[in-house]
């Protein structure tokens, strides 16, 4: 048994070390949505986007605490949280899935490389399969990773009610843009 113990340690270390080296994590990412309606265009921003990306397995997992979104007007924020997103019951927007590089032969991420992420996007408790286009690249010093992506969210797809009476101030289609810098995850 004495001989087996180091072997177990060695196996565990060798099994996880390469994967850990490919993981990147951040929790101060930027997220913005824009609503363009006939009578009103406004944006909401947050700097609390959290994300994990694993270059080796292709796994991506992001979430945003929706209570941190700021549209610039506190009463509108409260209405957004309370009347539209129902953040008491559904506090997060989430995307979990996998990604792949759009071009083969990945050997460097010094330049932005287009990627496509496929997974499940959830907001307001309603999940939808989504495909999201974006780019990833290493940060300038090469120790981190920058991911940028943009996509559209239809409120109707997620049962976020938008009565006809408010159509002129709130668009059904929200344009979402994210940018997050992630550091190499190292236990």
């Amino acid at each position: 048994m004495r001989r087996i113990a180091p072997l177990i340690l060695l196996l565990l270390s060798s099994a996880y070390a390469p994967l850990q080296a490919q993981k990147y994590f951040g929790e101060t990412g930027f997220a913005e949505f824009e609503s363009r309606a006939p009578a009103l265009t406004f944006t909401g921003v947050s700097n609390n986007l959290a994300g994990l990306i694993d270059l080796q397995t292709g796994m991506v997992d992001f979430y945003l605490d929706l209570t941190t979104l700021d549209t610039g007007i506190a009463l509108r924020n409260r209405h957004m949280r309370d009347s539209y997103l129902n953040t008491r019951n559904f506090p997060f927007a989430e995307f979990t899935g996998t990604f792949q590089f759009n071009e083969p032969a990945v050997d460097t991420l010094l330049q932005p490389r287009p990627v496509t992420a496929t997974g499940v996007f959830t907001i307001h408790g309603i999940s939808r399969d989504r495909q999201v286009e974006g780019t990833v690249q290493f940060t300038g010093d090469g120790t981190g990773l920058v991911l940028e992506a943009s996509f559209e969210v239809a409120l109707e797809d997620h049962n976020i009610d938008r009565p006809r009476v408010v159509f002129y101030e709130l668009s059904d289609i929200q344009r979402v843009r994210i940018r997050i810098e992630m550091e190499q995850y190292d236990e």
Binding site: A5, M59, T68, Y168
Partner: protein
């Protein structure tokens, strides 16, 4: 007996897996702020006639325009009071701090300019650590009407001044139901037939009851009852109002039927009220809009 080295190895392996596996799977979802205050007890800083505990944030400007038309009993020829014209009040409120704001307003009834402050010193929390929100409102009004018809009787600055104080205490009982009690008092330095309050009393005391029942995320039924302590018979009736709030993404519209044409707080307490049992209601509406002047 298990070998000690093997035991240590197993413990190390478990600890290692424990650290690594959660990260390999989904991230643990964590709220940025854990203890959140209860929000939107009411849809706007004012519900029908009365100020609520909904405050502005620092740097926000709240613009409101309020209307109160003629009594419904004027009938269809006067389009149920619409043809009688409206008393209108404009107001601007600015958030100096998140829980402290100043406001100015001007109402057509007695051509009153009013200015005041609001300060919320308790806020209901979602975790129940604070069950209610409490704010203090204080204002003063200046009657700017022309009183030349009084002849030689002087109508001084003192005579034209009135004061108001209210202490709204609100609680959001559920996503649908909110209630607010507002102990309130008003002082008019001069009363008489020449101003639009029906009694000669200088001091007025009462309790306002405001309620909201949310029908959908953006629609809510509202109600208001102002009980007056002043025992003046029919001269000062209690105020009754029923309304509908509509939130549109940028504005909050408030449509209501009320027994008073008064639009500021002091006059809502001391002003004349129609008889709710005898068609004494009148239509009114408020439009609320907020702007961010600076962050």
């Amino acid at each position: 007996m298990m070998n000690k080295s093997f035991g240590k190895a197993v413990i190390f392996a478990v600890l290692t897996l424990g650290l690594v596996l959660p990260v390999r799977a989904q991230l643990e979802r964590r709220m940025v702020v854990q203890d959140r205050p209860v929000e939107l007890t009411f849809m706007a800083p004012r519900s029908i006639n009365l100020l609520t505990t909904e405050m502005l944030s620092r740097g926000e400007m709240h613009y409101a325009i309020m209307h109160s038309f003629g009594e419904l009993e004027n009938g269809w020829r006067n389009f149920y009071g619409i043809d009688n014209g409206a008393v209108i009040r404009f107001s601007l409120e600015y958030g100096i701090a998140d829980d402290f704001s100043v406001f100015v307003g001007r109402s057509g009834l007695d051509k009153v300019f009013d200015t005041g402050v609001r300060y919320r010193f308790l806020r209901q929390m979602e975790d129940g650590s604070m069950p209610v929100s409490v704010a203090l409102t204080a204002s003063t009004g200046l009657n700017s009407s022309e009183y030349n018809f009084l002849g030689s009787t002087e109508f001084s600055l003192y005579d034209r001044t009135s004061y108001y104080a209210g202490l709204p205490v609100s609680r959001k009982f559920s996503d649908s139901v909110s209630l607010q009690l507002t102990p309130m008092m008003a002082r008019f330095n001069r009363t008489g037939f020449e101003i639009s309050i029906p009694s000669d009393a200088r001091w007025y005391y009462g309790i306002g009851l405001s309620g909201r029942y949310r029908i959908t995320g953006r629609l809510a039924l509202t109600g208001q009852f102002i009980w007056s302590e002043n025992d003046l018979g029919d001269a000062v009736r209690n105020n009754v109002a029923l309304g509908l709030d509509i939130e549109t993404g940028g504005h909050v519209f408030q449509l209501f039927f009320t027994t008073t044409q008064s639009l500021n707080d002091a006059y809502a307490l001391a002003g004349r009220n129609g008889n709710p049992m005898d068609g004494g209601f009148r239509f009114g509406f408020n439009v609320n809009r907020l702007f961010m002047l600076h962050r």
